[in-house]
């Protein structure tokens, strides 16, 4: 049972990583003048969009099998609506947090906001997909004993890794190397993306290695 789930997770995570890679390496084939750092905002949008798309598709593909097949249409609509609202609120919240952490308030507003969107895609969107639009469940998952399935554990790991990556990305900004990737928010977004990818790879591995210790309360 657990192995099956784990295999499913590995494939899902692989698709997500593929989405990240394709956003980086396939887009230059389509778009001209595309460069990871030179036209960073374009990359940012493409990356968020592709991750969003893949996550939503995965969610629908997995979701239909387990929970919400019997719900009626209006319930689905409210659910989708709630998800959208939550996502935009989380973008704003992330924006606020980033500004509180020292990002410029007025200059490069757009860059900061897109960075917040990217972070939301890596964290909130996955929460939405895996847990649905219920804040209670979110709060529950992010505590020591809150995980109830390996999906919850992987959610914990990827979220922590993305945010930690973004945090680490802020560190080289003040260095006087004058590199193009030190410009706000390039290093942070790269850090977040890298952290997200590491989380995606690491979560199944971690779960695999800690199989014995992980005991989830049954539903």
């Amino acid at each position: 049972m657990r192995d099956l789930e784990l295999r499913g997770m590995v494939s899902a995570h692989c698709t997500l990583i593929l989405a990240l890679l394709s956003a980086t390496f396939v887009t230059p084939l389509i778009l001209e003048d595309f460069h990871l750092i030179g036209t960073h905002l374009v990359w940012l949008c493409v990356c968020s969009a592709s991750v969003t798309a893949v996550s939503v598709i995965l969610c629908l593909a997995l979701g239909t099998s387990s929970v919400s097949s019997k719900k009626n249409f209006s319930q689905k609509v409210t659910k989708v609506f709630r998800s959208c609202v939550l996502f935009s609120v989380s973008c704003l919240v992330f924006h606020g947090i980033i500004v509180l952490y020292g990002a410029p308030l007025l200059e490069s507003l757009w860059e900061t906001f897109l960075f917040a969107v990217l972070l939301s895609t890596f964290t909130t969107l996955r929460c939405l997909c895996l847990l649905g639009p219920s804040l209670h469940a979110w709060i529950r998952v992010f505590s020591k004993n809150g995980a109830m399935s390996i999906w919850d554990t992987s959610l914990q790991i990827t979220t922590a890794c993305s945010i930690f990556g973004a945090w680490l990305g802020a560190i080289p900004i003040p260095l006087d190397w004058d590199r193009p990737w030190q410009v706000w928010p390039v290093s942070c977004t790269l850090g977040a993306t890298f952290g997200f990818a590491v989380g995606l790879v690491g979560a199944p591995l971690w779960i695999h290695w800690h199989k014995k210790q992980l005991t989830y309360k049954s539903r």
Binding site: L100, Y101, G102, H136, A137, I139, R140, F142, S143, K144, N145, G146, M148, W167, A170, I171, P174, L175, D176, K217
Partner: protein, 1100 residues
């Protein structure tokens, strides 16, 4: 007893730190004493004796000093960063790089006129930065980091220098170019055209400006010395590196300029073209690599100057040699502190017949030697850092040469029996001896001024590291010690004294002079040895515990380490950041970022551990009905915490608007709040800011008062309470008046101005007096408890223990009961409804300690605000708000994670201590300071002193208080970290009361500390050690950075000042920490006496 032991051991630890720091400083700081003496024209080193009269004959010797001048004018063209490779010309080269073969005019002149033009390699002494080089090129000495006696506030050169000699001897000095010169020689130039030099990206402003003026000036006649400093080459190097077409353009421009200048040079003029330093392959400079040190020197004179024989390779000349050469060629005295040697080539050849040249060279060298000898004598008189034996040798050499010279001169005149050949040989020999003397002198000076004492530095670092380790160990295991005084005090001190004594004995026996600093270091080393010996060998239970940690299974080991990892990891990150110049430059931002990270991490960790949600909520499928009402309180706590978190963040962000700028930061605007009110132009703006600062001051004091009121500390009629009620507003009023007078516009009547002058002196005095009175009152009686006895009868307040009437016997058990009772009635006071039951009510008993500390803190803040400019009051308000929100977060977090009755409650966790220390650093920046010398607020020394000072101690103290204000405040507020969770206990249990009535555990707030006096003392020790550790590790990092990067090109601009500021802040912090801790002990003593008295009263 425990109190004294703890204070003494804290003092001892501080001493260990000081010893290491002192040793390091001794090895690191290159100190040279600056002499203020000037060379005078009258004090001729060689009296114009017979030799002089015979041979010194230049036509206009009446305007010459020391030696007849050869040129009446000189043009010095400084081409910044003119590397020797730039000036070298190789016609055979096929594909020259952009910087090669560009200065053709030099080559053509050297080849075609070997007697008039020559190229030299010009060796610069490190540090190869422009300002240090200009200093070297004009004073003839080696620059060091701290020239004792120099004035930090201005960069003007204090020592005797060429420019000053020119001016003194009525030469008109015209200057154009890099405005650094204006700062170094203010008001010295006859005419000057300075241009801004700071923007490295701007290649042309300075050069074009110079080119605009230089030709007309050269052609005109109203100058004697012309200095032109071109910056384009240097900036081009910084911007593009030498290997870039822009460099070719720049050098071509210089080539054209040189050609035009050479065409215009008149017969009596000497042209000197020099580079102040070279550049590396990336175009930078500052260090001591070959590429940076090797500059070019080109000398041209329209008259024959050199011997015709052209050396195959250009000769190597030291930069400071230029100073005596120019001085003697132009007939001015050599600057007093010069240790350079005249360039032999410039004195050997000329129109005069062959043999006498040597006489002239010998004379120049002799004058030079006499001047250097005079300098050495007066220097060794003032400072003792030159080796004595070497000095003796040099002196002997000098007197021999002097005698030989006199012999030669006297022998030359009357008796013409010696042949010319013999004379020539003797002169040659004399010259080489003199040259050797001058060279040896320079080498000796270089050795003692420009060398670090690596072994001292190394041992200093080791001692500091050992002190940090000791702090860490003590703070981790303090609670297990059985006999504190033995481990902490007795053994280390005995071992230390023993090793110090041994060293002294060794010194006595071997007859060497023992430096007291070295003795201290031996004592420190011995003390460390003793501490560890007894810790690891003899004390079984401690070593057991330590080994138990290291032997425990990995899982547990991880757990014990992960407890430390968060805060200490961030501390480590901060320490590594000290090794990078960009992080040091932007330290204000870096620290605030890390501070925010720590605090967020703490809160997130609480969430992760599920402290916000009731345990029952963790299992998500509990039916709604079973949900405990207590969860409401938890959620409220959570929102409370989040609110304070946001407040904390906002404080940190707003405090950023008070940052000052350092010059390394491009496009940085210094905070507008740094300008005093009186400098604001518009009265409306001024009024607005005046009101802003007054109101922030008023809010500050109001909030403190509110706090006192809230915890019931304002009820009694003690003197202290009276002072808090009346004294604080009085001080605020005084400050408001003081600022109003300060900000008043200048144009007022004479009478009013007199009054203003009076006020400006008197009001700070009054404030100071009030503050001191406040301190004395707090020290005398820090208790702000009001006891209200509302009993009708002598009801049993105290249930007598065993019916015994002996007070001492009782007190042990009675004390808790008293404050249990009191606390109960205090609850009543808090919850607002008045209880009919007659009890003894003690208002404010729960916060005796923190109330006393807060009083001190407020007084100190008011004093420090006065030392800052008025607009900084807002920054101090922010400081208080940030501290308060952090303490609230900390208190709530502690109460959520540990039960108050738990003994772990007495330790202050690492994150709190680290964040507290980071806040101190952050507010160092947020009060407008920077760790550089120009950024020091010197005017703090003149608050309350309009005239100036008679001694140096008081102004140094005032400036120090101003600079380290935030370190002082946070050090004094440090015990609050321990006290605040106890204070917050009230709220948390009150919240519980809402849900369940059954909570019997009553709040005792700070009385828990009274209940456990030993625990309290140990907790203070632990807190002190942790705070010292956090500071000590940061100090260690900046010490290591300064030591390892001592040859970095930024060391004198960034790392060394940073290290000095860190060292000073550590010392200031530790002193205030010790004072606060002893104050806490004092309060503790008074409180226990108070209880004793109370019991005595009750038992009567």
């Amino acid at each position: 007893m425990t109190r004294t032991v703890i204070m003494l051991s804290l003092c001892w630890t501080c001493f260990l730190f000081y010893a290491g720091l002192g040793l390091f400083l001794n090895g690191f700081l290159l100190v040279r004493v600056e002499l203020r003496s000037r060379s005078a024209c009258r004090a001729e080193p060689l009296s114009q004796g017979r030799g002089g009269q015979q041979l010194g004959g230049s036509p206009d010797s009446n305007s010459s000093c020391w030696m007849g001048r050869r040129f009446s004018k000189v043009i010095v063209l400084v081409i910044d960063a003119l590397k020797f490779d730039f000036a070298k010309y190789n016609p055979a080269r096929k594909n020259p790089k952009p910087y090669e073969n560009k200065l053709g005019v030099i080559y053509q002149n050297v080849v075609s006129k070997p007697q008039q033009a020559r190229l030299f390699q010009f060796r610069a002494d490190p540090p190869t930065t422009t300002m240090q080089r200009i200093k070297g090129l004009t004073t003839g000495t080696l620059p060091t980091f701290i020239d004792v006696g120099s004035n930090f506030a201005s960069s003007a050169i204090q020592e005797d220098n060429l420019i000053e000699q020119f001016v003194q001897n009525k030469r008109r000095v015209v200057f154009m170019g890099d405005d650094t010169w204006e700062g170094l020689f203010p008001k010295k130039f006859f005419k000057s055209f300075p241009f801004p030099s700071f923007n490295v990206k701007d290649l042309h402003t300075v050069d074009n400006g110079v080119l605009q003026h230089i030709y007309t000036t050269v052609e005109s006649s109203d100058w004697d010395v012309l200095i032109a400093h071109f910056l384009g080459v240097d900036h081009c190097g910084h911007r593009y590196g030498p290997d870039h077409p822009a460099m070719a353009d720049k050098l071509n421009q210089m080539n054209e300029m040189l050609r035009s200048v050479i065409d215009r040079v008149q017969n009596d003029t000497l042209l000197v073209v020099l580079g102040d330093h070279g550049m590396t392959s990336t175009g930078d400079h500052g260090g001591e690599s070959e590429a940076e040190v090797n500059a070019a020197l080109f000398i041209y004179s329209p008259l024959p100057l050199f011997m015709s024989a052209l050396p195959r390779d250009p000769e190597v000349v030291s930069q400071i040699d230029m100073v005596p050469t120019l001085a003697l060629l132009l007939g001015v005295p050599i600057p007093y502190s010069n240790i350079g040697m005249v360039m032999a080539d410039m004195f050997t050849a000329g129109a005069i017949p062959h043999g006498i040249n040597h006489h002239k060279l010998a004379k120049a060298l002799q004058i030079n030697a006499i001047q250097v000898n005079r300098f050495l004598e007066s220097y060794s008189h003032v400072a003792k850092d030159l080796p004595v034996e070497k000095l003796e040798q040099l002196k002997e050499l000098f007197s021999k040469a002097m005698a030989e010279y006199n012999n030669l001169i006297t022998g030359l005149g009357p008796s013409e029996n010696t042949t010319l050949e013999q004379d020539l040989l003797r002169f040659q020999k004399l010259s080489s001896v003199l040259q050797w003397y001058l060279k040896a002198t320079r080498e000796m000076c270089q050795e003692s001024w420009a060398r670090f004492n690596v072994s001292h530095m190394l041992f200093g670092v080791a001692l500091l590291a050992a002190a940090c380790l000791q702090c860490f160990l003590i703070s981790e295991i303090a609670s297990i010690f059985k006999t504190l005084y033995k481990e902490l005090l007795l053994y280390p001190v005995i071992w230390g004294l023993a090793s110090g004594l041994m060293f002294c004995l060794w010194g006595l026996l071997s007859g060497t002079v023992v430096n007291p600093l070295i003795i201290c270091c031996w004592i420190a080393a011995g003390s460390h040895l003793g501490f560890h010996w007894h810790l690891w060998r003899s004390n079984n239970h401690i070593s057991n515990k330590l080994t138990q940690i290291s032997n425990s299974p990995t899982q547990q080991k991880w757990k014990s380490w992960s407890k430390l990892s968060g805060a200490l990891g961030i501390l480590l990150l901060r320490c590594t950041a000290m090794f990078s110049n960009s992080f040091v430059v932007t330290e204000g931002q870096v620290v605030s970022f890390l501070l925010k990270s720590i605090v967020t991490f703490t809160v997130v960790k609480l969430k992760w551990e599920g402290k916000f949600t009731n345990p029952s909520l963790n299992t998500p499928f509990v039916p709604e009905t079973q949900k405990n009402p207590a969860s409401v309180s938890c959620r409220r706590e959570c929102f409370y915490l989040l609110g304070f978190l946001v407040a904390f963040f906002l404080c940190v962000i707003f405090s950023k608007s008070f940052y000052n700028c350092r010059e390394e930061l491009m496009n940085c605007e210094p905070s507008p709040f740094l300008k005093p009110l009186s400098s604001l132009k518009y009265s409306q703006e001024r009024n607005f800011h005046y009101i802003l600062s007054i109101s922030s001051l008023a809010i500050l004091v109001y909030l403190i008062r509110k706090w006192f009121l809230h915890y019931g500390n304002l009820n009694s009629s003690h003197l202290l309470v009276l002072f808090v009620r009346l004294g604080f507003p009085l001080i605020v009023l005084c400050l408001c008046g003081f600022w109003a007078v300060n900000a008043a516009p200048e144009e007022t009547s004479v009478k009013l101005q007199d009054l203003i002058k009076e006020i400006v002196v008197v009001v700070p005095g009054i404030v100071c007096g009030l503050v001191v009175t406040g301190f004395l009152i707090v020290l005398w009686n820090p208790i702000t408890v009001f006891v209200k006895d509302s009993r009708q009868s002598d009801e049993t307040l105290i249930t007598s223990y065993k019916g015994s009437s002996r007070v001492e016997d009782d007190s042990l058990h009675v004390i808790p009961q008293i404050y249990r009772k009191m606390q109960q009635s205090m609850n009543v006071h808090f919850s607002g409804n008045y209880d009919e039951k007659p009890t003894v009510t003690a208002y404010g008993l729960g916060t005796v300690y923190s109330a006393a500390l807060l009083t001190v803190l407020t007084l100190l803040t008011l004093l420090l605000i006065m030392l800052h400019n008025e607009r900084m009051a807002l920054a101090f308000l922010l400081l208080f708000l940030e501290g308060f929100s952090f303490l609230e977060i900390h208190g709530t977090a502690r109460n959520l994670s540990v039960a108050a009755s738990n003994l772990g409650y007495f330790t202050v966790p690492w994150y709190a201590v680290t964040a507290w220390a980071f806040s101190a650093t952050q507010f160092f920046y947020a009060t407008g300071h920077q760790p550089t010398f120009p950024a020091i607020h010197w005017n703090a020394a003149f608050v309350g002193f309009s005239e100036g000072h008679t001694s140096n101690i008081l102004p140094a103290l005032m400036v120090g208080m101003n600079t380290f204000a935030s370190h002082i405040l946070f050090a004094v507020g440090c015990p609050l970290l321990l006290l605040w969770p106890f204070i917050r206990e009230v709220q948390s249990s009150k919240n519980k009361k809402l849900g369940q009535e059954s909570v019997e555990e009553d709040q005792m707030m700070e009385m828990r500390l009274r209940e456990n006096p030993h625990k309290f003392s140990v907790a203070l020790l632990q807190l002190g050690m942790r705070y010292l550790f956090v500071y000590g590790v940061q100090l260690l990092a900046s010490v290591c950075a300064a030591a390892m990067l001592r040859r970095h090109l930024m060391v004198w601009k960034i790392f060394a000042p940073k290290f000095l500021f860190d060292a000073l802040s550590f010392v200031v912090m530790s002193v205030f920490l010790l004072i606060t801790f002893s104050f806490m002990m004092r309060v503790d003593v008074v409180v226990s006496n108070w209880f004793k008295e109370l019991i005595l009263k009750q038992s009567r």
